[in-house]
């Protein structure tokens, strides 16, 4: 029956009229995509096989890009608020009117007191541009979202070893034999980790996963360590204890490539230079040369430093940094038996992990027949690899002890000799780059003037902090103050709260981009919505003006006074630049573009183009010509013609008038065309001789200078002992001109240690653990990127409800049953949520997917959407401040060194609640400025 109408046995339908290649933006991973167009419409998106990031594959988010592009939540035109703040009532206006309003706010601020503008961007992929704009404007108040994301990981990496995980480094996936991952949020980065694990396992390599929750990568890990949250530092230092005890460390590597031999003054705790390095008159750190027993410059050729011993000069006593490290971590406090209960890991398991790391590192050594020359001119015949690699992200980072924990992990890598060697961890250009080579922070603004330098940088001691003479913070988020001296990404999570409190000062205009700070991207969501709508005694908003740019009708839109509508990622120009967060791989420098593969069908503009327009209207330096005329037509013009340093611009490929130069060269008017022809990206391979040992490899250093990553070779050694931390401690002990306030002295002494230390997370230490016995975490699902996923008709079918996952013992003790609801409380608040049982979970931890819960009315969803009825945010339980200490001061719930938001320090209690929803708190609906989505979708029927 029916056989005559069957399709051809070997059908060859035409896929599309045209393929345009650009860069994905469904998350921060930045894969290359082939966008198939038919009849001018987007039909199908697949991974670009030639692209260095994803090499052809594409995740669920990327594959659902069509639904994001056609989302009913897309904003359609500029809007000004007509109802009360938060209501969602707007009227569409022209771009001209929008610019006029924005200029009427921003121009007077710039002319009088530029710090009254706070400009913070969210998951911005154009930070080198947005920061350039903010610097030209002159406000000190600029940062992106790093402070509430993973700044601990980034800062600890750069301070310790001159590079960090993810964007600036990766496991050597093709040579590693053992990869250990800690607390990896499942999208940092997305496809390369999945692909790497697949390749590693295909070769018979193993994965050790350290995470309280066994999902995602931990589900496929060969070994799962279900650690108790906030104790990763203890666990890592215990592994270090085991390795030191057994002498299973790479001494040759430590001597050559680290500050292990640097002499540290140890004889007099009261001395001004106690704990600092012995330096010669030129400031060069000194080591004991084993050959002579005398001190020598650490970087002198042929010097082999001693790693133990005692040296006296001018009556002062010194020891090598390594000896201090060994004495610290060999202490019985760090033995597996001493930490096991707190970590929730059996002592035998800790010992077994340490033994396995040592076995693979030293017994499965890799030798590459590749000669290379080091920074001192010594020729090496081979490259020796320790095939153990590590990756970590927000899980260990988002704690108030996160910076030191991340430092501890890097120390472990370095002791094993597995950084920048075959099979280990490898940097990606523009890294390696030591902290000294980064700019220093700048926060002193003057009316009508640009800021003297970039906002964000790497302080090397108290002298680089950004505080007024009276000790007050210069920045609204209090970055680079004694509260969080090395807050190298700023503290976006404190901006609204501080602005509302007028602490350290009041602002006039809050300008944000792509940051859902009225919902899932903020701590303490309900109160933050109140702060955004709060009025003073005169009936004026406490935060007078809010300017916001987003592509979609997110919860934050309703709180803005003026909206600049952004485009979707398929309608815009972007550059993923070597000046900020490029797409490099360990083998190659690479950058990429987005370009409008389709034109917008609404009255919207790429935010960066709008910012260029605003910059010109405000007459900002760098945005106008000498005669005051506009310098750039739009962002594409800026990408092509802007030069940060002579010959170095946003894009490194096809530079020079003839387009033949790489890295350095004059602007090329056809540069974007060359990128488009090449699939949207540029890539330059690092020479074979320069592939490993990059911080010390002459061939790499010369190549990096040639390509424009830096202007002279920058060899350096890794910081086992981090002297800048000791300088903070010395100030807290009373030395020097720049002094912390008395209330912070003890905290600085105990947390800013030059060797990594573990201390109990602050909130945990502050609350009654018997009353709040359970840790609570969130994770991001692999198929969602923060709040964006719920407007996506396909992705929301995979997850539109999040339950709180509860481990078996708590589940049974509380008498939970399937379909139940629970009341979950922290010291700050209470929520009511649906629950489910999960046994592959640390027994003292509950968790849920983040950013599934939605406010009614947002994202063009039905007000009865499950995301609002049964979805919820844990954010309501997490405060941006620690519980009050009775001193009247506001103590941030952040890492004391970097200011990283301590999302995962949360402690809760759980009780069974009466059945049924909705989730609480249940906020009333916002009006939707974009209406509602269609009822049904038959995507694809147009293409027949």
């Amino acid at each position: 029956m029916g056989t005559e109408t069957r399709i051809a046995a070997r059908p060859s339908p035409k896929v599309s009229d045209e393929v345009r290649q650009t860069t994905c933006y469904m998350c921060a991973c930045r894969c290359g995509i082939n966008v198939h167009l038919q009849n001018g419409k987007v039909k199908y998106i697949e991974g670009n096989r030639d692209h260095p990031v994803n090499k052809g594959v594409l995740c669920a988010k990327g594959s659902a890009g069509i639904m994001q592009h056609y989302s009913p939540a897309r904003l359609k035109a500029p809007m000004k608020r007509v109802g009360p703040r938060g209501s969602g009532q707007f009227e569409e206006i022209s771009w001209e009117e929008a610019y006029e309003i924005a200029v009427s706010w921003l121009k007077p601020i710039r002319e009088t007191d530029p710090k009254r503008l706070a400009f913070f961007t969210g998951r911005d992929q154009s930070q080198s541009f947005t920061s350039f704009w903010a610097q030209a404007y002159g406000t000190p108040n600029y940062a992106a979202h790093g402070g509430f994301c993973s700044v601990n990981m980034a800062a600890a990496g750069i301070y310790t070893m001159g590079g960090a995980f993810w964007e600036f480094g990766q496991p050597d996936w093709d040579r590693a034999k053992l990869v250990m991952i800690f607390g990896v949020a499942e999208d940092h980065d997305s496809n390369p980790i999945k692909a790497g694990i697949g390749r590693l396992k295909a070769r018979g390599g193993k994965v050790i996963g350290v995470n309280p929750i066994r999902s995602g990568y931990n589900a496929v890990a060969d070994e799962w360590i279900g650690i108790t949250p906030g104790t990763d530092g203890l666990f890592i230092l215990s592994i270090i204890h085991e390795l030191l005890r057994a002498g299973r460390i790479d001494l040759d590597y430590l001597c050559r490539y680290t500050n292990a031999g640097f002499l540290v003054r140890v004889d007099d705790p009261k001395a001004e230079d106690h704990g600092l390095f012995l330096r010669n008159d030129a400031g060069v750190a000194q080591v004991i040369d084993r050959a002579t027993g005398k001190i020598a410059n650490y970087d002198a050729p042929d010097v082999k430093p001693d790693l133990a011993g005692h040296f006296v000069q001018d009556g002062k006593g010194y020891k090598p940094a390594f000896q201090l490290l060994a004495e610290t971590y060999l202490s019985p406090d760090h033995a597996p038996d001493a930490v096991a209960d707190r970590c929730g890991i059996a002592p035998d398991r800790i010992r077994a992990v340490a033994a396995e790391l040592a076995r693979v590192a030293f017994e499965e050594e890799i030798v590459l027949d590749q000669p290379w020359t080091d920074w001192k001119g010594e020729r090496h015949k081979k490259m020796i690899g320790r095939p153990v690699s590590f990756h970590a992200m927000r899980g260990i980072s988002a704690h108030s002890n996160g910076f030191q924990t991340c430092r501890a992990l890097h120390i472990l890598q370095i002791l094993l000799g597995s950084v920048e060697v075959p099979g280990g961890f490898r940097f990606k250009p523009p890294y390696p780059k030591p902290p000294e080579a980064h700019p220093k922070p700048n926060a002193v603004g003057r009316p009508g003037q640009p800021l003297p330098g970039p906002h964000l940088g790497f302080p090397m001691g108290p002298e680089d902090l950004q505080i007024c003479k009276d000790g007050k913070p210069l920045r609204i988020d209090k970055a680079f103050t004694w509260e969080n001296p090395f807050s190298v990404h700023g503290l976006m999570h404190m901006v609204i709260s501080n602005a509302h409190a007028g602490d350290p000062y009041k602002i006039d205009t809050l300008f944000m981009y792509m940051a859902n700070m009225a919902w899932n991207s903020t701590m303490n969501t309900s109160e933050v919505m109140m702060m955004l709508t709060d009025k003073d005694e005169n009936g004026d908003y406490v935060i007078p003006r809010i300017l916001y740019s987003d592509a979609y009708s997110s919860e934050m839109v309703a709180f803005a006074d003026l909206i600049l509508p952004d485009t979707t990622y398929l309608e815009r120009h972007d550059c993923i630049s070597l000046l900020d967060r490029p797409i490099c791989e360990a083998e190659a420098a690479a950058d990429a573009i987005r370009w409008p593969v389709v034109e917008p069908d609404r009255n919207v503009k790429g935010f960066q183009s709008a910012l260029i327009d605003l910059g010109a209207r405000l007459g900002l330096p760098g945005f106008v010509n000498e005669d005051g005329s506009r310098k750039y037509a739009d962002y594409a013009d800026y990408i092509t013609n802007h030069e940060r340093r002579p010959g170095v611009g946003p894009l490194a490929g096809w530079r020079g008038e003839d387009g033949a130069s790489e890295g350095r060269g004059a602007a090329n008017p056809e540069q974007l065309d060359r990128y488009i022809e090449n699939g949207g990206f540029w890539m330059a391979h690092i020479p074979e001789e320069a592939q490993y040992y990059k911080p010390w490899n002459q061939a790499y250093q010369y190549w990096a200078v040639r390509i424009g990553l830096f202007d002279k070779p920058l060899p350096y050694v890794f910081n086992l002992y981090l002297e800048p931390m000791r300088k903070l401690q010395r100030a807290a002990e009373g030395h020097g001109d720049c002094q912390p306030p008395d209330r912070l002295r003890e905290r600085i002494k105990s947390t800013c240690t030059p060797l990594p230390v573990w201390y109990e997370p602050f909130e945990e230490a502050a609350v009654d653990k018997a009353e709040y016995p359970v840790h609570a975490l969130t994770q991001r699902p692999m198929h969602m990127y923060h709040s964006w996923g719920s407007q996506n008709a396909w992705l929301r079918q995979i997850t539109n409800v999040n339950r709180l996952y509860i481990p078996g013992a708590i589940w049974e003790a509380e008498g939970f049953e399937e379909g139940d609801w629970a009341e979950v409380s922290s010291v700050h608040g209470k929520i009511r949520v649906p629950v489910a049982r999960m046994d592959a979970l640390n027994p003292d931890t509950v968790w849920t997917w983040n950013a599934i819960g939605k406010r009614r009315g947002a994202w063009a969803l039905d007000e009865r959407a499950p995301e609002a009825e049964k979805g919820f945010l844990l954010n309501h339980l997490i405060h941006e401040l620690l519980p009050p200490k009775g001193d009247g001061l506001r103590w941030a719930n952040s890492d004391p060194i970097t200011g990283q938001a301590a999302w995962f320090d949360l402690r809760v209690k759980i009780r069974r609640a009466p059945p049924g929803g909705p989730s609480q708190p249940s906020h009333p609906a916002q009006a939707s400025p974009v209406g509602r989505g269609p009822r049904d979708i038959r995507f694809g029927e147009d293409f027949e």
Binding site: I7, W224, A793
Partner: protein
């Protein structure tokens, strides 16, 4: 009733590695994306932005928790689509002949023009691998991307099912399981690939590679200390540095 081919020499199918599947749903969405605008009616979504969004998918990932006798509980991600069975009950039950299994390559397809949406095949399939499209009223199922794997309009290396092309972890493999020398057959042999629910006697072509053993690093030998005293450590250090 519809007849199955007596034999299929060529047995195209998928091999899915449960040891590496991280449960990311890439295959689920890319499958939907390809198939909604290719073979047959679109894979529709109803109440797409509403209170009860439901759509047609040809491939879904399920997650299960497994608690072994010893060791901690495990999570297994389990992608599932039509297994293109040799004894496909969905075909033999079809009253119109719309469901059929191709003799040339073993792919089970639905001829939508002949499908009256009675749903018998979905009832007969023990795997729940078929979905009736709510708007088109016809039965949808995995076609093994029959419109990709022979498609002369796409590059040869891309002539694999969309789910295989997109899988970031490389957990999905496509090939001829009727040829013992094919890469997929060798992989199944090497890794002990299994049938899903063999007791149903459907003889599925698709195979699953089971997860490798986990959590074995418990009783390994601890590292032997060089010395239990700090001084002893320093003596070792001195000797070791001398040997460099």
């Amino acid at each position: 009733m519809t007849a199955l081919p007596k034999t299929c020499q060529k047995k195209l199918g998928l091999v899915i590695d449960l040891d590496t599947c991280v449960g990311c749903h890439a295959c689920v969405v890319n499958c939907k994306e390809w198939n909604t605008s290719n073979y047959g009616a679109p894979l529709s979504d109803t109440d797409a932005y509403g209170a009860n969004p439901v759509g047609t998918f040809l491939n879904r990932v399920h997650s299960y928790e497994v608690t072994p006798a010893e060791g901690p509980a495990q999570t297994v991600h389990f992608p599932k689509s039509c297994l293109h069975c040799e004894d496909a009950p969905c075909v033999s039950v079809c009253p119109t002949g719309a469901s059929y299994k191709r003799s040339e390559d073993g792919i089970v397809l639905v001829n939508e023009d002949d499908c009256m949406g009675c749903g018998l095949c979905a009832w007969a399939c023990p795997y729940g691998a078929r979905e009736l499209d709510a708007l088109a009223g016809v039965m949808k199922k995995c076609t093994l991307c029959v419109d990709r794997i022979y498609n002369e309009n796409i590059p040869e290396e891309d002539r694999v099912p969309a789910c295989v092309r997109t899988c970031p972890a490389g957990a999905r493999h496509f090939g001829d399981l009727g040829d013992p020398e094919s890469d997929v057959s060798k992989l199944v042999a090497a890794r002990g690939g299994v049938d899903l629910m063999p007791e149903m006697e459907t003889r599925p072509v698709n195979k699953y590679l089971p997860p490798r053993k986990k959590d074995e690093l418990t009783k390994g030998e601890a590292l032997a200390p060089k010395s239990t005293e700090p001084k002893g450590f320093l003596a070792w250090l001195d000797k070791a540095l001398e040997a460099l």
